[in-house]
């Protein structure tokens, strides 16, 4: 069967599955809509968290990003996994014990202030919108690439699917669809990885094949370092970023992960505090399966791409190179006319252009796998894109219906609140879809900064809110604002106002805009503590609440208020 036929069949089957689950798990109450009724098992929640977390970018682009960055790509690997340790140890169990539905809920209650709540809502909406616009674009690209429809149509199809289970099912629908989506995406990622690993190194486990040998006595990584060195590139296992910048970017990504509202809210869905802890562990296991495979796929991919093209006659390139040349994801241009492909660092002489996405997209063909595997990878990429978009849309709709509407109009009935949540979700889907079709130029650049903003705004006030009873509303509000404004200002300056100055020479303390969230976070901490010291301590009722959330017992009841 043709690749396109297989793609339609597999994508169609998985979509039918997601919609089926959505109908089966409709939300009947606000509690079900916001936190899936608080009754999700830790294992299912772990899987859903993993699917929510891993976006189209993780699935398609991350391996390629690492392939070209080499050692520098480690910032993503450590940054996007290490944050779960912070989340599990410092935030998730206590927020679960607190037992309400959203991050602004916690900030507003703990800091006894609707001003703090509104600041938190603004941060949450801003971070989620930036993030979701990128996802919808990703959905569109995936659809258009595999189903051969225009990007706009791809976005619209994606919107309809997400609309179905996010609006109908709320958190309950999203959670159970995400469990299915995780299974689809991880299977789709692992099959080609295993075969390529076997083909190159003889070891079926990519994590081990990564350190395996490609020739007798020569390991893959040594060979890769040698090949890149011969063409004048930096060695794969050496870094080009400064150590300070590596440190700061990794920190910003880790702390940002722990501060992202759509990740935190997942831990409100399990029944008990101990389930929240365990669930974070499961989530990281499921994430780690992909995140430890990705660097292996990266090394295999770049090795294969160079090995099968560099210094080879243009007329004798393998068929997958010819196939993907049509999509411009790989381009060969024999500039010096010697009939041989030269892969070189100097752009004016380089004859081989490789797009980062090809490492995953072309992997089934490189490994000479049957056509259905290509369809499977397509279904996996779509699962990754849809699951993340849905999780973000839920945060947006909850912020509107609960944190804004319910706070200022507490008299509305549950039925009405549920309806507002659904309308908000529908509105968010349409708005996100609009941005997917007409992407503002800044989206691609800004998605990575959602992490910096989450690190600089939420993480410090949530952490201090749990671990210090002295931090008051004045401290929290000024801390969040300082962190957010500083980080946003620094990023805006270097990315949009004076992009020509965006080099290590001009950065403060040698920290790039990608890593500046770490400094924003430190500022937030300092401002929070200093301002709190000079203003009155929180009231006794808040001190009691803090004592209460530090102890697991009683979490089951905590949710019913």
């Amino acid at each position: 069967m043709e690749i396109l036929t297989w793609t339609y069949i597999l994508v169609g089957l998985t979509f039918a599955l997601y919609i089926g689950i959505a109908i089966w798990s409709r939300a009947g109450s606000t509690k079900e809509f916001y936190v899936a009724g608080g009754g999700v098992s830790p294992l299912a929640n772990g899987m859903a968290t993993a699917a929510d977390w891993m976006s189209a970018a993780s699935f398609i682009s991350m391996a390629g990003l690492i392939a070209f960055a080499g050692y520098d790509g480690s910032v993503y690997l450590m940054g996007w996994t290490g944050g779960y340790v912070l989340l599990a140890l410092l935030l998730a169990p206590y927020l679960r014990k607190f037992g309400k539905f959203t991050v602004p809920d916690f900030v507003g209650d703990r800091y006894y202030s609707n001003t703090a709540r509104v600041v938190a809502v603004i941060c949450a909406l801003f971070i989620s919108f930036v993030y979701v616009a990128g996802q919808m674009r990703g959905v569109g690209i995936v659809f258009s690439r595999y189903l051969e429809v225009p990007i706009e149509w791809g976005v619209v199809i994606g919107m309809i699917i997400v609309f179905f289970y996010a609006v109908l099912g709320g958190m309950k629908g999203i959670t159970y669809t995400q469990v299915a989506q995780y299974c689809v995406l991880i299977f789709a990622y692992m099959v080609p990885a295993i075969f390529i690993s076997m083909q190159l190194t003889g070891n079926p486990i990519p994590q081990l094949g990564f350190g395996g040998e490609v020739e007798a006595g020569v390991s893959l990584l040594d060979k890769l370092d040698g090949v890149l060195d011969d063409s004048g590139f930096a060695a794969y296992t050496d870094g080009r970023k400064s150590m300070t910048d590596m440190f700061m970017i990794t920190l910003a990504l880790m702390v940002g992960t722990a501060g992202l509202p759509h990740v935190i809210v997942r831990f409100f869905t399990v029944p008990r505090v101990k389930d929240a802890r365990l669930s974070a562990g499961y989530a990281l296991v499921f994430i780690a399966i992909l995140y430890t495979t990705a660097p292996a796929v990266a090394a295999f991919g770049i090795y294969n791409a160079i090995n099968s093209t560099s210094e080879k006659p243009v007329s004798e390139l393998p068929t997958w190179v010819q196939t993907w040349q049509k999509t411009n994801l790989i381009q060969v241009d024999d500039k010096n006319g010697d009939g041989i492909v030269q892969y070189l660092p100097d752009p004016s002489q380089n004859e081989l252009q490789i797009d980062k996405d090809i490492m995953v997209l072309a992997s089934p063909e490189i490994a000479e796998l049957p056509n259905w595997v290509v369809g499977l990878v397509a279904a996996g990429a779509m699962a990754a894109a849809l699951s993340t978009a849905a999780g973000l849309l839920l945060v947006i709709s909850t912020s509107v219906s609960r944190d804004l509407f319910k706070t200022f109009r507490p008299e509305i009935t549950e039925k009405k609140e549920l309806m507002i949540a659904r309308i908000a979700a529908a509105g968010a889907v349409i708005l996100a879809g609009y941005f997917g079709v007409n992407p503002p130029g800044f989206v691609a650049q800004v998605v990575a900064f959602a992490f910096g903003l989450a690190a600089a705004s939420f993480f410090p006030v949530i952490l201090l809110g749990i671990f210090s009873s002295r931090i008051n509303k004045e401290g929290a509000i000024s801390g969040m604002l300082v962190g957010l404004v500083f980080t946003l200002g620094y990023i805006t300056y270097f990315k949009f106002i004076s992009p020509e100055l965006n080099t290590a020479e001009y950065w403060w303390f040698g920290v790039s805009p990608e890593g500046i969230g770490s400094i924003g976070m430190i500022l937030n901490f300092i401002v929070c503590v200093v301002v709190s010291r000079f203003t009155p301590a929180p009231p006794a009722s808040i001190q009691e609440m803090i004592e209460e959330i530090r102890i697991p017992r009683g979490a089951g009841k905590a949710i019913d208020h």
Partner: protein
Amino acid sequence: MPIDPKQKTKVYWKKNLQTLVVLLLIWFLVSFGCGILWVEELNSIQLGGFKLGFWFAQQGSIYVFVLLIFAYVYWMNRLDRKFDVDEE
């Protein structure tokens, strides 16, 4: 001798913080330490086909992260039971 419940909570919280400090220290050492700060020194050591520093940055740190969370789950569950603050 009956223990004052306020006092018990204090001791529980202190033990909790000690656990966190130990685990987060390991978290820091494997990622920021072995993966970034000492990566060059460690890269002179070979682990199979990997340079050790590179392995920590792209593989090892992630495995340790997973183990850390499960160690935390185990220790906290034990601590909760010991101080009788666990959930029914």
